[in-house]
Symmetry: C4
Subunit: 241 residues, 4 copies
């Protein structure tokens, strides 16, 4: 009983030295797993490197499995943990490995995408993320309005440029969906240069879309920044009282 | 009489369950019509798909026509609705279909551009857009000033780069109008890469234009964001009283 | 005497109907002169168009000359006007035309660049520009600091990428000055794509430069926007008193 | 004793005419050394130019050495200066020159990179940088949170686009590390165009990443700007008291 109690403290508390150490080890493992995962995609890897990365992979999955079992063991309400958001992420991070044993290689590859959920584990332990969440809640309504306006503007730009450029460049602006890609790449000011208007009409249309679009696309950043300031001020006000 | 009353509630009120359902159906129809419209532009569509999209098109236009007739029928001041902004948009969304029957294909195509006005119907039902409109009113004056400064800066950049690059790249920077396209693409930081200064003079000129231009082009976003904050504060103040 | 008085009101006052009309005519002339000037650079213009544009040019210069003489005539302190900023601009806008008569074509071309000063005449009559100027004064000190930091960052980026990419792409990153062009195009997020790092070292270096640089380059916009807000608040405070 | 006192004032004080002059001379020397350093990298330099630049280089290093010795001589706690941040930078700025005499050319080249530290000397004398530092301290916590979120988002985007585009463009999106370069270039809106998604899945994925990413990447700028405002207000409050 006493032993379980200590393990519980180790796994679930973040304010004790042991709990902090446990958190840091788990986060380090997540980072290592992400790096080995990325390294595996490099072309021209030698057989030995592949073998080494595979060993690291197996060790990490075993450690994650141990962590998952431990979390269930120490949880007061086990089913509640298993069905929680992080419980599901913890399971999804190890499940592909075990499922892969009996399935062919291609399905394995698609399943590995689920490993990305490990990224959220990294976020889990970050207390400072709370202020960000509060700021997001403050600006939520405006963000939705701007998102809708932005999507409408993108759609409008895409349809407009299609009419201006389709006849001049049928291979490039071949449909409204291709034109939407252009609209998105242009209004976000990424500007790859893979699709560029060449007609006078298309360029003048782009000119006006950019004058309007620059303002709209950049607004969410300003909103979020000001909301974060407000969240900070609210904290200060609470601290003053 | 009683029946008309119910239809009126259905069409014109947005706070009753029936009114909300009607709004949602209309918005869904607008979205479907936009998607089928975009799908039609895809190259290499089979004859069956074309036929199917045509049927969806006809059904949607009939439904929009029914909606338009209904809105006139329930309106207290029918002419006032017909001549209102949304009355005209509602008509423009269906008119091209009926006009197209007697006209040749090319004019039809130009007329379909008017279908875009359906997008504004989507906006119509959004209450949250009001705050955005108020913020826009607050920052209107500064936006105009910045727009004028930006246009002058664009013009100045376009003329400047023409003098620096025209001799080195006569095919690329072939006139001040072509150079204006470069100025716009560069100062908005889109940077397609279709026109790039190569002379030392042109690059140094671009350097100074970018130092000045970055500030000016990005300002409207900051203005709008801060105005939205002000609109929000004003709402809070009204709520406090 | 009475007559001169009226002309003086016409030319120098902006709050009388006649003064406003005079201002509008001058601004329209400046716009027309800029447009004809741009049209002249278009390649493949017919001889008739060239002739027409030349006539418009001569008429505008004559009108500008009349305006210049008029301004001197009505000025209380004539030398003070001639030596003022706008007095010099007004002269520079017409001088190239008269000087060109006796000089060869190439020098004429360089002199035409001075026509750009006409743009400043457009700005002259804009009252709303004052608030912008006040906001600029408020944020002046920070803008200077940021400009210095940005230039240092640009220089640092340019030298760094030169060391990483010069050996791999000696033709592209051929000197620190070429690399500075890359640094400027990248840190302002224009990203033409004419110079792109390909080495792992150069890309990791770019990664860190962008993380730092994005913040620094975008700051002036935020500064100016907030300063404009402050200028607006100051106006409101003065109005309240 | 009296003489040393004067030298001390000259070197260490910035508020006397002599001290200011000394500072300006040192800054001018740093600028000259940076410019000659950059000029040396230009291809196709004549032998005479190389010789001239070499002479300027030697003279500047000798003057920097004199300055370094002088700073040690006038310092009250000599070891404290030598081991200080600027003491080390001052040494690193001249050391490569002396070390280069006995070592082969390639190592010399790597060592010259250290010359960049001279840039920090430029910053040293700038009083206005203090406010910037204070603003940075205010927004530090949020900047860290956003940096972490941005890096996670970059990683997530890189892995995602790898799965969407690797099969379609194995040469371009050849590993997750190559995809990370794409993610960084795209989410910062630089958009070189060297790596562009071509699959429908990859483009839709990019669409959502850009909608989220634009907000996150632009936030630090807003944070820093608002923090700078706060630092300014704090200064005003202190001045009022």
């Amino acid at each position: 009983m006493r032993y379980t109690m200590d393990l519980k403290t180790l796994v679930e508390r973040h304010d004790t030295p042991a709990g902090k150490a446990f958190d840091l080890v788990v986060q380090a493992l997540i980072l290592i797993s992400l790096i080995t995962f990325s390294l595996e995609t490099l072309p021209n890897l030698s057989a030995e490197t592949h073998h080494l990365l595979r060993i690291v992979e197996v060790v990490i999955v075993l450690l994650f499995t141990a962590e998952y079992v431990l979390r269930i063991a120490v949880a007061d309400r086990k089913l509640s943990y298993i069905l929680s958001f992080y419980g599901i992420i913890d399971l999804l991070a190890i499940l592909p490995f075990y499922l892969a044993l009996g399935i062919d290689m291609r399905s394995l590859r698609a399943l590995r995408m689920l490993r990305l959920f490990r990224l959220f584990k990294l976020v889990r332990y970050n207390n400072a993320i709370e202020r960000f969440a509060r700021a997001f809640a403050i600006a939520r309504e405006e963000i939705v309005v701007f998102a809708v306006v932005t999507v409408i503007l993108l759609f409008f730009s895409g349809i407009g440029i299609y009419y201006f450029e389709h006849d001049a460049q049928p291979e490039v602006f071949s449909s409204i969906f291709h034109s939407l890609w252009w609209a998105m790449v242009t209004l976000t000011t990424v500007g790859y240069g893979d699709m560029v208007p060449i007609t006078a009409g298309g360029r003048i249309f782009t000119f006006f879309m950019l004058l309007i679009g620059l303002g709209i696309v950049a607004v969410p950043a300003g909103l979020l920044a000001s909301a974060l300031n407000k969240a900070r001020r609210d904290e200060d006000d609470e601290a003053d009282e």
